[in-house]
Structures are given as C-alpha cells and as structure tokens.
C-alpha cells in the first residue's frame, strides 16, 4: 500500500488519474474503519486533508453555497446553520463531537451509503455535486449522483471537489430514527425543505431504499395543494398532512435488516413526514414569512 499526501488539487487529480484504484481519504470516519476491521487494502491511500481549497466554503455568483468536499460536519453546524439549516440539522445528528470534528460532507457523498445523513437534506434542496479529473470538472445533479448501494456516479479517475447547495428560502427540517440520540446509523431518515419564493416543496428519504431518494409524488401533490395556502396564515388541514405522509412512505422501498424491518421503516416515514412538514409549515406561517 502507498500513502500519498498531495498539497494541491492539481496534484491530487494527477495522482487519481495515474492510480484510478486509489482510495480518497478525508476524515477517515469510514475509510479507517474499513482498514481497521476488514481485509480491504487499496493500492494507494490519497490523503486529501492538506488541500486548502477543499476545507472552505464560499458563496457562488447565483447565491448558492459551494461547500468544499473537505468541509467538516462541525463547520457546517458552526458556520452554516442559517444558510443551510436542513444540512446543519442533519450534521448535528452525525456520530459524536469527535466524529463531527473529522467527518466531511464530501466523504459522506463519496461513501454514498443509503444511510448517509447529509443525503436527504441535499436531495430536498436540489444540490449539485462538483466532480473533477485532470480532464476537467462537471456538475452532477444530486438526483443522479447515487447509483446503487454505496455507489455513486463518479468515474474512477474523478474526485469530489465540492457540493453546491441552494441557500434556504424557507423552513427546513430533518428527522432521523435510531436507538439513541448519538452514534447512530439511521434506521431511516427524512428531510423536507419549503421554498416560499418558488412555492415548492423538496424531500429526501434516507435508509429506506437502495439509495437515498426523493419522494417525487409527495412533493408534486403537496406543491399543488399548497398553491392556495402559502398566503394564508394558519396550520395545514390534517387530511393534507396525512396524504403527504402516506405518499412519502409509498415512495420508499425499504428492506428488513439488522437495524429494522421494512414495515417499521415505512411506518416511521409516515410519522417523520407528518412531523417535519408540520414543524416546517408552522415555522413558516407563525414567523410571518407568509406575509413576506
């Protein structure tokens, strides 16, 4: 095994082009577990922690946040709570303080676990993943990024440079089921983002299908039903909330596994969808955003 520590992005891309089998290493919260506990021995570990531009975020010309792939959960929580509230909420549920100091959003996308905590809030706001190789860079819509269990749309010579996330245009919520509050891999999770400007709704489901997914049907139904309600200050009709919850559960394709049964996940999704929609909508109308 080799260990390479590039100090610039170009150097990292060149290394990946020369060794497409290289395993990128950032916070180590997934990669080191594999090295410690399994027989996986990649030919090259590509340590990306010394590339300055990966560890920062910036505002794009069109008002979105470009998060370098090496931005940690701790940075998201401490620096981006107002701009990316859904992602920050999800980041707060990751592991423990020690894990959040090291784990990165880019690493979460690279591992592409169906249970990754960043994925539902990124799906709910329509983020784009910026990937690069020596040939150039391209943007992959988050909907097309997850291609299978722990598989993503990267080609072997590409690395994740950043994820570009629209800033919040309304309340966002995230909910996650586990056996305790900390150190939990989601049994299932759900994110919702209300866009009060475009009057649309985004969703993301985690751990209830081979990949993280959106609940397209639920989004369409709710966006349509809300058309007459955005200007009205008041709670949502109970039957609309129930319909949304059922549509979310229908979108999922969960399995029975060690963390929970498919039936439990389906039920939990209806509960999380109902609660998160209610929290988000109540925040929307009660804080006066409805009048804006």
């Amino acid at each position: 095994m080799e260990f390479l520590t590039p100090e610039s992005w170009d150097e990292a891309l060149t290394a990946k082009a020369l060794s497409p089998d290289a395993l990128p290493l950032a916070g180590g919260t997934d990669v080191m577990v594999e090295l410690n506990l399994t027989a996986r021995r990649p030919p090259l570990l590509l340590d990306l922690t010394r590339i300055p531009e990966l560890t920062t975020w910036s505002l794009t010309d069109d008002g979105r946040i470009r998060l370098g792939a090496g931005v940690t959960y701790r940075q998201v929580i401490e620096e981006l709570n107002d701009e990316l509230p859904g992602l920050a909420m999800a980041a707060r549920t990751v592991g423990s303080p020690q894990i959040r100091n090291r784990g990165t959003v880019g690493g979460n996308l690279g591992a592409a676990s169906p249970a990754g905590d960043c994925h539902p809030p990124l799906l709910a706001v329509g983020a784009e993943v910026e990937v690069a190789s020596v040939v150039g860079s391209r943007l992959i819509p988050i909907d097309e990024f997850f291609t299978g269990v722990k598989r993503n749309a990267l080609s072997p010579e590409e690395l994740i440079a950043a994820v570009i996330v629209p800033t919040a245009r309304g309340p966002q919520q995230f909910s996650k089921i586990g056996t305790r509050n900390a150190m939990v891999i989601a049994v299932c999770s759900f994110a919702i983002a209300l866009d009060a400007h475009h009057q649309t709704v985004g969703t993301g489901i985690g751990s209830a299908a081979p990949t993280p997914i959106r609940a397209h049907g639920a989004e369409r139904m709710l966006t349509h039903a809300l058309k007459s309600l955005w200007q009205r200050r008041g709670p949502l009709p109970e039957d609309l909330v129930q319909q949304f919850a059922l549509n979310v559960a229908t979108a999922a394709k969960p399995i029975d596994d060690v963390r929970g049964t498919a039936a439990y996940r389906q039920h939990a999704l209806t509960v999380m969808a109902r609660r998160t929609l209610t929290w988000a909508w109540d925040e929307y109308w009660s804080t006066g955003e409805a009048a804006a």
């Binding site: 080191m32 423990s96 303080p97």
Partner: protein, 161 residues
C-alpha cells in the same frame, strides 16, 4: 514510511510505519504511549480520544500519515508531573473511575468541553460526552466529576481573561 509529529510538546519520529496504520497504533505500539485505549477501532467508543491540532479526534480513525507534522496531545500530557489535572482529581474524588478503560478518552473530551464552556449544563455535558462509552459507572459520577472540575477550574462560571 517515516512519520514525525509532536506529541505532548515533544517531537517524535517513527520509522517503518505501515501506510494503513492508525494514529492510535502509532501512539501505543511505536511511541510507547499506551494511555489512549484501543477498543472498538471504529470511532464508536471514544476510548482513544486525543487532541490533534486543538480538536478532539478518535485516534483510531486518523491515519498515521495524516498526523505527519501535527500536534498531538494525549492523556499522558494532561497532568503536570505528579500533580493531577483538576479534571483527573475530580474523577478520583467523585468515583467516576471504575475499570478505568474509558477514563483517558473521557478526560481528554472533558478537557475540550471545559476549554470552550466554563459552566456547562448537564445536557451540554451529555452532548459533549456522547461519543465516550463507559460500561461501569452509569455516567452519573462522571457527570458529577465534570461539574466539580468546572467549578474548580472556572470558579465564577466564566473564563479568566
């Protein structure tokens, strides 16, 4: 490969380090610092918690190569000579140590908490220690130890300036 890093203020060097090796293995097996404990090797238990460049990390999840040139502080660097650190003293007095295996990681994580929060609430203590498992004490004495240490380190509940 050769790794050079600063541990508890001293420069250390190790040769023939395996490329897939963890910082925890480097500390325990090559640098003679077995205070950081090896238990789960997957970041679940917090027993190997150390400071790396001022942030607490699970040493089992840091590749040795990632520690190159970094500043590490382990439990061996917490006390001043034979005098216990106030957090260690508080753990002794409140009975927060039973088998002692989780204690080094807890002490480092508490040191990090009290550096940033002079007077943490019980909820903040529990949040800060959420990644440190103790299978003996039931945590009550540990939380009591943190309260005691906080009161002694920052008697007014605020940081000295």
């Amino acid at each position: 490969m050769r790794i050079t890093c600063t541990v508890n203020g001293q420069t250390h060097q190790a040769d023939d380090v395996w490329e897939g090796e963890s910082l925890l293995y480097l500390l325990r097996e090559r640098l003679g610092l077995p205070g950081s404990k090896n238990a789960c090797e997957q970041g679940e238990c917090g027993s190997c918690t150390v400071f790396m460049d001022d942030e607490t990390v699970c040493a089992c999840l840091v590749a040795a190569g990632q520690a190159e040139g970094r500043e590490i502080r382990t439990i061996e660097g917490l006390s001043e000579g034979d005098r216990l650190h106030p957090i260690q003293q508080a753990f002794v007095e409140t009975g927060a140590v039973q088998c002692g295996f989780c204690t080094p990681g807890l002490l480092i994580q508490v040191a990090d908490l009290l550096r940033n929060n002079a007077n943490p609430t019980d909820l903040e203590i529990r949040e800060a220690l959420a990644g440190n498992l103790c299978r003996c004490t039931g945590y009550e004495q540990i939380i009591e130890a943190v309260r005691l240490a906080a009161a002694r380190i920052h008697p007014t509940g605020e940081f000295a300036r």
